[in-house]
């Protein structure tokens, strides 16, 4: 169990939870709408060139650039390394 923002490039896992940072966290809501929901397989593809930020994340058929603070809301289970 860990945060998506702490995975090394190439690692994958399954989403366990999205932690909202406040009662109405628009970023957490948006992550949910974009398909970051419990049970989905995710893969951390690579990092941006400056300060290893943002992260390139693959979910489903789609790739997103997430800033580190955004990815830190996503709890993943790497044991269950899913095929992404």
């Amino acid at each position: 169990m860990g945060l998506l923002s702490e995975l090394p490039p190439g690692a994958s896992g399954r989403i366990v939870d999205i932690t909202a940072q406040s009662a109405s966290d628009p970023i957490a809501e948006r992550l949910h709408d974009l398909g970051f929901v419990a049970g989905e397989p995710v893969k951390l593809v690579s990092y941006g060139p400056f300060g290893a930020d943002p992260l390139l994340v693959q979910i489903g058929f789609t790739r997103f650039a997430l800033r580190r603070s955004e990815a830190a809301r996503i709890v993943v289970n790497t044991e269950e390394a899913a095929h992404v």
Binding site: I27, D33, G35, P54, F61, R63, F64, A65
Partner: protein, 615 residues
Amino acid sequence: MSDTTLARPPVSIALVGNPNCGKTALFNQLTGSRQKVANYAGVTVERKEGRLVLPSGRKVRVLDLPGAYSLNATSPDEAVTRDVCLGQHPDETQPDLLLCVADATNLRLHLRFVLELKRLGRPMVLALNMVDAAKRRGILIDRDKLEQELGFPVVETVAIRRQGAAALINVLDEHRLAVPAAPTTGADLHAEARRLIASAVTMPQPTSPIDEAIDRWVLHPVWGLLILAATMLLVFQAVYAWGEPIKGIIDAAIQWLGAEVTALLPAGILRSLLVEGVIAGVGGVLVFLPQILILFFFILVLEESGYLPRAAFLLDRFMVGAGLSGRAFIPLLSSFACAVPGIMATRSIPDPRDRLLTILVAPLMTCSARLPVYALLIGAFIPDRAVFGVFNLQGLTLFALYAAGIVSALIVALVARYIGKQASEQALLLEIPAWRVPNPRDVFLGLRERAGIFLRRVGTIILALSVLLWFLSSFPTPPADWSRPAIEYSFAGHIGRGLAMLFEPIGFNWQICVALIPGLAAREVAISGLASVYAISAGDGTEQVLATTLASSWSLATALSLLAWYVFAPQCLSTIAVIRRESGSLKITLFSVVLLAFMAYAAAFAAYHLTGALQ
């Protein structure tokens, strides 16, 4: 909804879908060139409407709604889409039919939004777009099954292929409005989307291997940045290398026209108005059209291909450090050519705050119109001598002027971020779409739209301002025995003298103040303004004579002060007009003008007095 709206053909259709689903391409395919582009009142969201003529001869209004991921809107664009879909938009009647567009290669994401829209209980049709790309990747979609599950028509389209929407057009022609099966509220949309995909889609692998191979290079920390630098160099090279000759041609055409009109009309007010007011004023701005088009050509191609979000990915961290967002990079870069297209390009920044900040700092990037003024003053005042053996003092000065603009933009952005700290965290959450080969027709239509916006502005506000400035510089006409330049006697001359008091602390004489007034139409017009105050008649070598005259009548401190002024000053009415248009707010426009004027005054003051003290 009343039943009378049902069982009749639709008269208005709205295109809805996720960003990058090919909605623009499909809209172009359906409506061809019968499009109208405007802005929604009060917001900077673009409103695109067109007309579709069906095979039966029936005409349907087609509205292209901004791309959205969800009805839970997080940007002004998405809010417009939400309001129109819900029938809550103040200026827009609820469309009869929602034409959802989904990318067949990205169904997991796009179907969720389709299902969310289905909950609205409105008549719907789904266009399953990019089926060509899906087939190439071995993705199999059971259309019948999907249609059966969704309960409304599902049609395959290839928006970039000729006739690629023929099936869709036929379905729309035969369509009679009906509400899809009772919407299932409460159910989890993601679970529902997953279930639909499991039952109707077979998918060999989630991403295309070609895309992954390209991205390994393009998004690489080192190679990616080198590719980005090379791309930008190419764009700039093209803007200058291709744009300048065409600019020269247009310039020559305008001068020819001016000469023709001069020869045709008797000397007098009418001729002066046409030649010096309309032709010179409008022409001075029109010459930028080729460069604007070349720049937008590249921006459109980069955007369509999917490169822009990748550039934003590479630079986001760097730009965030400066208080901006990765997506601000292209607009700011464009602003080095001209702030007008740069500010227009901020439309690709979804976050309103990031967009506004980008609009505020864009005029600080040194645009090409400042270059002639820089060149004149540097040539006249800065000695052409080597520094440390390798550098040239004139070149260093030019570099310093560019750098001053960039550094001040960083400072403004950082200060704004500091002040706006309590504001909520800004999201990136940027989709990196699949690579696509840009479709020439869509690029062409996009270019035509940009050119239209630019030309409309030239034809309206710039024309009006040019006539006004001409009036100020030509009236009242001096008496017959007036021996000094006519402009001195005019309103502009008086205003200039009046302003001289204000500008004296920064070392401007009244001649500069007078020249700055026609310079409001376009920055480089200040040069011809100076030429006319110093009574240098137009002709060959004007610039050389002017440079010599200036060198003998100004102090170095005054010249440096004017250069510093030019780095910042809100000296270009087209830029101010485009800020007004793109920000949609008079307050922001005024703030921007005051901020720039303040910075200009402060910088010129410092330059004047420091030079004075050091000499």
